[in-house]
């Protein structure tokens, strides 16, 4: 078999970025599966795309804009209705120790 397209280290990294807590067995299972997927998709590289513009969107349309008009929002009660945890006015989430501090 050809060299794996993705190694265990990369899978760990991707899992970490996606905040997924994977077992060792899962990591090795996904390493195999992801490699197989990447190998399959690599077939596309056989196509000559030298003269083809990169595609930003699969629909041949652009400029779907709306006017700056206010629409009714859900309101606090409805907004919070499906929240796993909430108080009167806010969503409650596990304590955030370090904040994003913007983008």
């Amino acid at each position: 078999m050809a060299q794996k397209k993705i190694d265990i280290k990369q899978v760990r990294q991707v899992a970490k970025l996606a905040r997924l807590d994977l077992s060792e067995a899962e990591i090795s299972q996904f390493t195999g599966q992801l490699s197989a997927i990447l190998e399959y998709v690599e077939k596309l590289n056989q196509l000559d795309t030298a003269n083809i513009e990169p595609l930003a969107h699969c629909l041949p349309i652009n400029n779907c804009l709306r006017e700056d008009n206010v629409k009714q929002s859900l309101g606090t009660e409805k907004t919070l209705e499906n929240a796993p945890d909430k108080d009167e006015k806010f969503f409650l989430v596990p304590k955030i120790l370090e904040d994003s501090g913007g983008f």
């Binding site: 930003a56 969503f91 989430v93």
Partner: protein, 488 residues
């Protein structure tokens, strides 16, 4: 002895909140200090099936700003997803623009000391959405308010062309003026409409070698003062650190700092290196934006004279000081009001004084601009002419101006009503001067004596004339008559 010389290098990222009524991708209202989570819809919540739709106004505002900042406006731009792992954006990504920003390769001119200007290159201007707010209260939870999530933001990124803290502040203030002139943002610092992130490092020359210190980014500054102080602090800290450790710039040693407003120091933020893997990819929910020439020229027809250009014009055409011109052009309404008033025939310096010494104070108290005080520019010009011709005194003119903001009457009518018209008729005033002279022989003698008492006696006689005319005599005319009479 080592020989050290260094240069501060700063690039600035600025987030500016747009003056739209609704969010970037949905019709939820942008409302400051609204009830938490009241301005939220399925798009803000990232619910399955909810689709974002671009706000035309926000797109046009960004294009307008890009043009005003001398950028090339992209004919084709698209939207990208940037991975984001905090609960204040529930989609788990921020919609932003990665490789095709709306504007690129521009520049901004900023005032520097001595009335000169400096060109700072603008790398890019792009649109994105803001996050909500995480509130860290006591207890095991954080509260999340999504009202702000989805607010349209412009991110403006400069090249590292700024070389000291004052220049950084100057750019921030100039940008505030520009976005306000264009009407694309209220740029209210108190409401967090402008947030700054300077990237700072030093180029150090030591013993004929050049060193670069590691770049640090200071996050999320929301006042001009914090911006200026944090850059100055970082420069000092980096110099000290270099002298102590010799640490230099390498790939991967960029650090992120926060700013402690109370201690006035930068604070290293703990962060995982991998956190910077944003994994951008095109957002399949949003179609691209194509800006054709017709749309672009339609948008750009709304560009007005920009503040720095106007400031320079006030100095060169109206002979104002750079300081006065700067005060007048700090907001567009005031600048336009001044300009119209001068164009209606008012003397520039006098109109400037009316505005800067009286108008701004009243406007501040009322919480509006000078242009909204209810005084028409041509009426103020009339008042300036009355003061210039000696019809009213400078002091009376100020009283009339204040009255004009209340009664909306013509300055001439107000002057009559308040009995502020100066008597300048020499014949009439001469009679009064004669009466005063006849009634005060001692004072006349003292005045003529030329010794110490003379000045005081002069003042006394002058006062008598003013009293007789109830303060309406033109003091210049009276002084002239009195001087000629006392010489004899």
């Amino acid at each position: 002895m080592t020989n050290i010389d260094y240069k501060i290098i700063v690039g600035l990222e600025i987030h500016v909140q747009m003056a739209a009524k609704t969010k970037m991708f949905c019709g939820c209202e942008l409302a400051f200090a609204a009830e938490p989570n009241s301005k939220v819809c399925p798009v803000c919540l990232g619910l399955p099936g909810a689709l974002p739709v671009m706000n035309r106004k926000a797109v046009e505002f960004a294009i307008l700003t890009a043009t005003a900042l001398n950028c090339k406006v992209a004919e084709f731009t698209k939207w990208d997803r940037k991975s984001y792992y905090y609960p204040d954006l529930p989609k788990n990504y921020q919609i932003s623009q990665y490789d095709l920003p709306i504007g690129s390769n521009g520049f901004i001119e900023i005032p520097v000391p001595g009335g000169a200007t400096k060109k700072i290159r603008i790398r890019r201007v792009h649109l994105e959405e803001d996050a909500g707010k995480n509130i860290h209260t006591a207890g095991p939870f954080s509260q999340v308010d999504l009202n702000r999530a989805g607010t349209p933001l412009m991110e403006i990124v400069t090249e590292p062309d700024l070389n000291n803290a004052e220049e950084v502040k100057s750019l921030a203030i100039e940008l505030q003026r520009i976005v306000r002139f264009l009407g694309v943002s209220e740029a209210d610092m108190q409401k967090g409409h402008m947030r700054f992130e300077p990237n700072v490092n030093l180029h150090i020359k030591k013993d004929n070698n050049e060193y670069k210190t590691p770049i640090t980014e200071v996050k999320n500054l929301n006042s001009f003062k914090a911006l200026e102080k944090s850059v100055a602090f970082e420069a000092r800290r980096q110099l000290d650190n270099f002298l102590e450790t010799g640490e230099c710039l390498q790939s991967g040693n960029k650090k992120t700092f926060g700013w402690d407003d109370i201690k006035e120091v930068t604070v290293l933020q703990r962060e995982k290196e991998e956190a910077h893997d944003y994994r951008y990819f095109p957002d399949p929910d949003l179609v691209p934006v194509v800006v054709n020439e017709k749309w672009l020229s339609q948008i750009n027809s709304r560009i007005c004279e920009l503040p720095l250009g106007m400031q320079k014009r006030f100095v060169s055409d109206y002979s104002l000081s750079d300081y006065d011109a700067g005060v007048l052009t700090s907001d567009k309404a005031t600048a336009d009001f001044f300009d119209s008033s001068v164009k209606a025939g008012g003397d520039a310096k006098r109109i400037c004084n009316f505005i800067t010494q009286t108008g701004l104070k009243i406007a501040n108290e009322k919480g509006c601009s000078v242009a909204e005080l209810g005084v028409e520019p041509d009426r103020l010009a009339e008042l300036a002419k009355m003061a210039d011709s000696g019809q009213v005194s400078a002091t009376a003119a100020v009283t009339i101006f204040v009255e004009m903001t209340q009664s909306k009457e013509q300055p001439g009518r107000i002057a009559e009503k308040l009995n502020l018209i100066q008597k300048s008729d020499a014949g009439e005033l001469e009679k009064i001067v004669d009466e005063v002279i006849a009634a005060n022989p001692q004072a006349v003698e003292d005045a003529k004596s030329g010794d110490k008492k003379s000045k005081k006696a002069h003042g006394f006689l002058m006062g008598q004339v003013m009293q007789k005319t109830k303060g309406t005599a033109n003091p210049q005319v009276v002084a002239k008559i009195l001087a000629s009479k006392l010489k004899i």
